[in-house]
């Protein structure tokens, strides 16, 4: 598949001078003038500005003799104008946002610029157009991609953290099983309560006892029962 369409001068001249293209431009200019109450001088200047873009490009195309060079020239012109439109678009939206309206000349120029793009787009390969679009939306695409990867990384970190916590919990459980023969919180609390009760009993039991000559003697009224081991 050829990467860049081979275009001849005749084709370029045809698309940029054909009546339909001129009609579209005229219609666009008049709508803009009416909708935005554009002054006669601004209208005239903007019309001249756009016509100069077309004539300058046609002059450039006529100077270039080799078709393949023409294709590259067309390709670069498309990029140049699309970038220019992108800048105008950003400026217009910020003016809009700050003041509620934007410079009408910039608005007119932005729209006209895209009409040039519409005219020459069919002369450029779809794959190239997609690549240009990809390139021009790169900042936002990168933004989306980075955000996605951050999301994924956070998810991954969270999973890793949870797995580590789970490992620790299982290790603790094994340790408890090995040393006290129980693993659940209920069992452990019950055992602790039981031990506390035994300690209280023992304290009560020995509350009336004294140590004499290394021997334990009971002075109270407690009865001692000795049970023989079987």
């Amino acid at each position: 598949m050829e990467l860049i369409k081979t275009i001849d001068l005749e084709t370029i001249e045809k698309v940029l001078t054909e009546p339909a293209f001129k009609e579209d431009i005229t219609h666009n200019l008049l709508s803009w003038k009416e909708d935005y109450s554009v002054s006669d001088s601004d209208y005239k200047d903007t019309k001249s500005w756009f016509e100069k873009i077309i004539t300058d490009f046609l002059t450039l195309a006529r100077d270039v003799e080799i078709d393949s060079e023409l294709s590259v020239t067309l390709f670069t012109k498309y990029i140049e104008l699309k970038c220019y439109w992108k800048q105008l678009n950003t400026q217009i939206q910020y003016q809009n946002f700050k003041t509620g309206s934007a410079n009408t000349v910039l608005i007119g120029k932005a729209s006209l610029t895209t009409f040039f793009l519409i005219a020459i787009e069919p002369l450029i390969h779809d794959t190239d157009l997609a690549e240009i679009q990809e390139f021009l939306t790169k900042p936002i695409k990168e933004y989306i991609r980075i955000e996605s990867s951050i999301d994924l990384r956070l998810d991954s970190d969270e999973i890793e953290l949870m797995e580590a916590q789970l490992d620790t919990l299982y290790a603790d459980k094994e340790y408890l099983q090995k040393h006290i023969g129980m693993t659940t919180a209920d069992e452990i609390i019950e055992a602790m309560d039981n031990l506390e009760e035994q300690i209280r009993d023992l304290r009560e039991e020995f509350s009336d006892s004294v140590m004499l000559d290394g021997r334990l003697s009971f002075l109270g009224k407690r009865k001692i029962t000795i049970q023989k081991q079987k």
Partner: protein, 142 residues
């Protein structure tokens, strides 16, 4: 863009959202989630529903007609990079992104479409209700 400027933009858009620029009635907003495709198509403003990454889920007929697009062909595409590259800036995409992060947005701002059409001033309303993770882009074509 600095955080300060983002906040300034957001405050401005929140201010617009409370004023005369609001063009989607509250009862329409409430019912939107349950509306049928036919009901959405009959609305007199553009309705685009996108996920948090900007992938289009719903694109109503009004918007398709105004933007000269085939509504069905937009489904599954990224609104900000594939369908409306003119929205690729901090005012539009930046506000959307912040709204998604904060899980709510109710922002309105003026916008001008110039890409492959005669210059057209519109109003944009970015909306995300508190209860559902659905992002709406409403476009009022003048």
């Amino acid at each position: 863009m600095s955080e300060q400027l983002i906040q300034k933009l957001q405050k401005q858009a929140e201010f617009y959202a409370k004023g005369e620029m609001r063009f989607v009635k509250d009862d329409v907003l409430q019912k939107l989630q349950l509306s049928s495709p036919e009901e959405m198509d009959s609305l007199d403003f553009g309705v685009i529903c996108v996920d948090d990454k900007g992938i289009i889920k719903i694109f109503n007929q009004h918007e398709a007609d105004k933007a000269n697009l085939d509504a069905k062909s937009t489904i599954g595409k990224n609104f900000f990079t594939e369908i409306a590259p003119c929205t690729n800036n901090q005012i539009f995409y930046g506000s959307f992104k912040k709204g998604v992060e904060e899980r709510r947005m109710d922002l309105i701002f003026p916008y001008t479409f110039t890409y492959k059409m005669k210059p057209t001033p519109v109003k944009i309303h970015l909306y995300r209700g508190p209860a559902r993770p659905t992002n709406w882009i409403f476009v009022k074509w003048n």
